[in-house]
């Protein structure tokens, strides 16, 4: 039985310096770079912006309709205030997140810390958005009821929010799992042995 010494393993490894494992299709590669170089780096960026835009548009629309109709529907005023407040909250958190991005070094450990910090942020925001469905759902249903709409419309709205809560919970669990996996990796990197 022969046991290879590490130096022998290194010799085997060095073979590929003269014999690359792959060839690159350069045309396809540059096409890919052209198509992706302007793309946003992080999904967090897109989901944050989407939440902010949706809340601002919906909140402003509800407020505008109330003012236009000179409505005295308190629940709808509260709903628009809540939505615009939520947009502001996400915006402030986004600014804090972007400022915090610069404090990580470029090592693997720093990169993992950064990924964990982004994942923690995603878990926190998705949790808050999940809880946020409750007041929005209640205020919308109350507003519909207060506005004299049939009870079944308010019930359909409640059902819609219940489904949103379910989908939001699924997304939240996805972020939690991703965060746990990154923490396991970081633990492995930091452990002695």
């Amino acid at each position: 039985m022969i046991i290879m010494e590490f130096e022998e393993l290194k010799k085997i490894w060095d073979v590929q310096t003269n014999q690359p494992l792959y060839a690159i299709n350069e045309k396809t590669m540059y096409n890919l770079i052209l198509s992706k170089k302007k793309q946003a780096h992080h999904i967090t960026n897109i989901s944050e912006l989407l939440i902010i835009i949706v809340y601002i548009i919906t909140g402003s629309f509800v407020l505008g309709m109330n003012l236009f109709n000179q409505s005295s529907n308190i629940s709808m005023y509260l709903l628009s205030a809540w939505m615009l407040g939520s947009a502001l909250f996400i915006l402030v958190n986004r600014i804090r997140r972007i400022k915090g991005d610069k404090q990580f070094d470029r090592s693997m450990s720093g990169d993992l810390d950064h990924a964990i910090s982004v994942a923690t942020y995603q878990v926190r925001i998705s949790q808050i958005m999940l809880w946020n469905i409750l007041p929005i759902g209640v205020l919308t249903s109350l507003g519909l009821w207060e506005g004299g709409k049939p009870i079944w419309i308010a019930l359909i709205a409640l059902l819609f929010f219940a489904l949103s809560y379910y989908a939001g919970g699924w997304e939240h669990n996805l972020y939690k799992r991703k965060k746990r996996e990154l923490e396991v990796l970081k633990k492995k990197l930091d452990s002695d042995g």
Partner: protein, 169 residues
């Protein structure tokens, strides 16, 4: 930095150090489609990194950092499903070399692939001759921690070489 300058530097880096990226791709991705996917992710990150390079580390160290960090995060992503019937129509960036690969190298990559993501990185750096200090800087851990991990990995790889001989490959 103009886009032309960025492209020139990117091309220089790739022509001189593509083997480094190939090693990371081969160590972290198993199937041809996965290797192509990971290679794409790495070159996009390398492209974006060009204007950020300040020359504080060597280009090799810089490229290893980017490639390994990308590969580790890529390996934790939800696996994409590649239906076999779509493979023919897809244009791959990576094409496997037609030169017969040394079967001992294939065995070595298989053993590296069996290690966890962190140990794979350390093994690649070790086999490429990085010092403990350089590895500690790339990984962001202490030199003594690097030393402990390397001792364990070396023992593990050397003991696996017994089996390699046993099967008479």
């Amino acid at each position: 930095m103009t886009e032309k300058e960025q492209q020139q530097i990117f091309e220089d880096w790739l022509s001189q150090h593509k083997t480094l990226i190939f090693k990371v791709v081969r160590a972290y991705a198993f199937t041809v489609m996965e290797q192509d996917d990971l290679f794409q992710e790495i070159i996009i990150q390398v492209w974006h990194s060009v204007p950020k390079f300040r020359g504080e580390a060597s280009v090799i160290t810089w490229l290893y950092r980017i490639s390994l960090n990308t590969a580790i995060k890529w390996s934790k992503k939800e696996r994409k499903h590649y239906p076999s019937e779509t493979l023919e129509g897809v244009q791959h960036i990576l094409q496997e070399s037609r030169i017969q690969t040394d079967e001992r190298l294939t065995w070595l990559y298989e053993e590296i692939y069996k290690l966890d993501e962190i140990d794979r990185s350390i093994t690649l750096l070790l086999l490429d001759g990085f010092s403990y200090k350089e590895m500690a800087s790339i990984l962001g851990i202490t030199e003594s921690n690097v030393g402990v991990k390397i001792n364990r990995i070396k023992k593990q790889l050397i003991s696996k070489s017994k089996k390699y001989d046993h099967y008479g490959i």
